[in-house]
């Protein structure tokens, strides 16, 4: 278990309609303890997971969207959002939560966690991974 692998969690489903988004996040939180090289990708309907202002009172379900903002504390700092998926859905990066992490090596400077990348850049990122998690 000493080897470090590049783990990527692939998120392609909308939140609340199904539980995949939430139970995927549960794996990310648990997985953080294993000190692998972790990143998350959001594409297709998965980009909806990151929208601001989610309010689940009316449907009586747990609002798990604040958990994304806590990912930085779990040292999960590489979050890729696919540009084409946002555009097809009429969304911009401003519709998403602003996710940040604090860089210990630079006097806890706050840095953006989200990288907006194109589909072909995402393909390059996928190619460099060791394990892809799908839910």
């Amino acid at each position: 278990m000493s080897e470090t692998k590049k783990f990527m969690y692939i998120n392609r489903k909308a939140p609340y309609g199904t539980i995949y988004a939430w139970e995927s996040l549960e794996v990310v939180l648990i997985g953080a303890a294993f000190e692998q090289d972790v990143s998350l990708a959001f594409l297709d309907d998965g980009v909806f997971q990151l929208t601001k202002g989610q309010d689940t009172k009316g449907i009586g379900m747990k609002n798990f969207s604040p958990t994304y903002a806590a990912l930085g504390d779990y040292e999960v700092t590489k979050i890729y959002v696919e540009k084409e998926s946002l555009e097809e859905r009429g969304l911009t990066i401003d519709d998403l939560q602003h996710l940040v992490w604090e860089d210990e090596d630079e006097d806890w400077a706050e840095k953006d966690s989200i990288s907006l990348i194109s589909r072909s850049e995402l393909a390059d990122v996928l190619a460099t991974q060791d394990v892809l998690f799908n839910f």
């Binding site: 609340y16 309609g17 309907d45 909806f48 689940t56 859905r89 009429g90």
Partner: protein
Amino acid sequence: MLHLVNKSPFDGCSLDTAAAIMKGGDELLLIEDGVYGAMKNGKGAALLDGLKVSVLGPDLAARGIPEDRLVDGVSVIDYAGFVDLVEANDKVQSWL
């Protein structure tokens, strides 16, 4: 006749088929992930043209979609309004 769509317009063809099958006087209600179909600039917008469309507000709020992001003319209703729609139409078709 009330048409129910609960899927994102990117997940299957439920919204496409519902919109194509709908007749004058029919109504469309978007629930669950179906509410994404009513977003302005989204894939579903073009399909809704000329249709009588409602979206379930609690599902919209859960997904963080402000009402001003919806296609013009779409009504936002609650579960009680959902019940009223079912009563007002002679039958319900769930496009699962």
